[in-house]
Amino acid sequence: MKKDIILAGVGGQGILSIAATIGLAAVDMGLHLKQAEVHGMSQRGGDVQSNLRISDKEIASDLIPKGKADIIISVEPMESLRYLPMLSPEGWLITNTTPYINIPNYPPMEKVMEEIEKLPHQVALDADKIAKDLGSGRSANMVILGAASPFLDIPVENLEKAITKLFTPKGEEVVDVNIKCFRAGREVSENNS
């Protein structure tokens, strides 16, 4: 088993908690993991990405080779496109459709969606809206994780266990809403593909 995952978004959007959840589940299953993160300057509203690699064999490189990523998981639609050179021809792109506009030259949304829809394997969903409807606008990243979950080769129970563990310090309510968001995202993918 090997999954090479690109996580993408804008600084402060919480891609690292997606990484932490997958990481926790993977380590619990005894898998190897390497995760290259971005720290420092690029966090201030700039584009951020993280290379997350999990495998049942030892992993050599901290960086995923270009053209070899199995999944791009993005919490921002334009950002999902920035990493297309990384994606393998069989790879999946899972992205939020709510844009994060902090630059004057953000492209028209129809153009962004057009590019996303050109891809043979993609799931695009309005994670912000789904999360808001479930009562927690801040959990859009768990909706996205849910949408990505069928492609991760990690049993859904293990992922939910990881979410529970990660959010338990914040209280039961936070755990519940995040699990709900995760399940809602997963449902979108299951109905889509």
Binding site: V10, G23, M41, D62, I103
Partner: protein
Amino acid sequence: MNRLLLLGDEAIAQAGIDAGISGVYAYPGTPSTEITEYILASKEAREKNIIASWTTNEKTAMEAALGMSYAGKRAMVCMKHVGLNVAADPFINSAITGANGGLIVLAADDPSMHSSQNEQDSRFYGKFAMIPMLEPSNQQEAYDMVIYGFDLSEKFKIPVLLRITTRLAHSRAGVVLNGKREQNKVGLPENYRRFILLPAIARRQYKQLLEQQAAYEDEALKSSFNQYIDGPDKSKGIITCGLGLNYLYENYPDRNVPFPVLKIGQYPVPTEMVRKLYNECESILVLEDGYPFLEEMLRGLLNHGKQINGRMDGTVPRDGELNPNIVAVALGMKDEWGNPIPEIVAPRPPSLCKGCPHIFSYNALNEAIAEFGKGRVFADIGCYALGALQPYDAISSCVDMGASITMAKGAADAGLVPAVAVIGDSTFTHSGMTGLLDAVIDNSPITVLVLDNATTAMTGGQPSSASGKIEDVCLALGVEKEHIHVINPIPKNHEENMNIMKKELLYKGVSVIIPRRECIVTATKRLKEKRKVK
């Protein structure tokens, strides 16, 4: 077995704790910051009374670590690569004095300049100082090398340089911890006079350092961090340093590299191992992250020997960090990328946070200086360097920490009046104060803005040495009281702040304006924590 998922930086920090350090001294700098932050947050470190201290700059950190080593205890000093420029004086001289308690100097290089102004390779400093050097290829080695490095340092009574790069520092992997050592007791060096670098003693010490070189190399030859991994195809021999090995392995399923590989993790470069590879193979490929350090040595000036491929002949790009694709190309393999980035994708550079106090300082400054035209604002390193970007376009230089004040002075001395310096509170204490004294002594006509946001923001919000006391420092350095102003950079005060700046721009001496308001990010964090406590 205690296996933890750690960043390279965290592995080094935990290893320091496990190796029995008594102190870590550091000035923050990406990608080294998380080492000291980990130790500061570690309960274990607190229970062991390990000193973890953010110092004023890298030089003071290096000297404090040397002092702790002098007193017999193990010390670690951490910095980003350019920090070693600041600490270079004590660093080079610590090779002459030698160490007493184990001393590891950690330099974190930033090839590809993810968050730095250059990509200098610290291995040249190790060679320059002529001390042993370690370079891990993964997080586990980073951990192991700290433990081993302290042994090496105490065996030879010499500081050891540990060189890492951003990719390792900021990547997480499983690390197995390995035992706990007690801290050393306080104890003077057997001969403390070796720390008195008067010429007569320094000459003797230097000769000793020269004599030790063979022993350091011998140690590298025996080290398990240097490995000769044989392969059947001798048409090419490959030398890897640091992460180069991982990118090589990535290109062969099950790590079956057909060529002989020499993996280097400990320096000085063991000549014997290199000779063996050179003799057995028809050509050599060098894969190193950073400058062509080893490659240059291998080629020599005349490059008369076998074919050597690497950064210097373009087989590997001359700049930037390595990655699996670059290595694939260097091996003559196919390199297939996914789809190109669609043209509509716009760059998204980092920017000042919404509501950041620096924004309002720049808005006022831009208006105050408009009548004199652009090109007169010498800025410095920190969040406020983002004032270079639109819509501010407020600065004309950002070179190295402290350079704002001194460059403004030089420019003003040359006749560029008014000249303005913009410097953050942490950068001011790091290396702005001495320059300000120069300006005061010469009564140079400069206006200095010390942006006091009560923190070292750029690197994640570490405390800042003189925050809240900047005006006292300036006064003590001789700036006249009526030319020191503390202002509040908020939109409401725009006119007032702008007028103060305008007035001081016309003053033919040193004036200091201190816009004081807390960084939004640290303020939010602080309020959140306060709420949690309640």
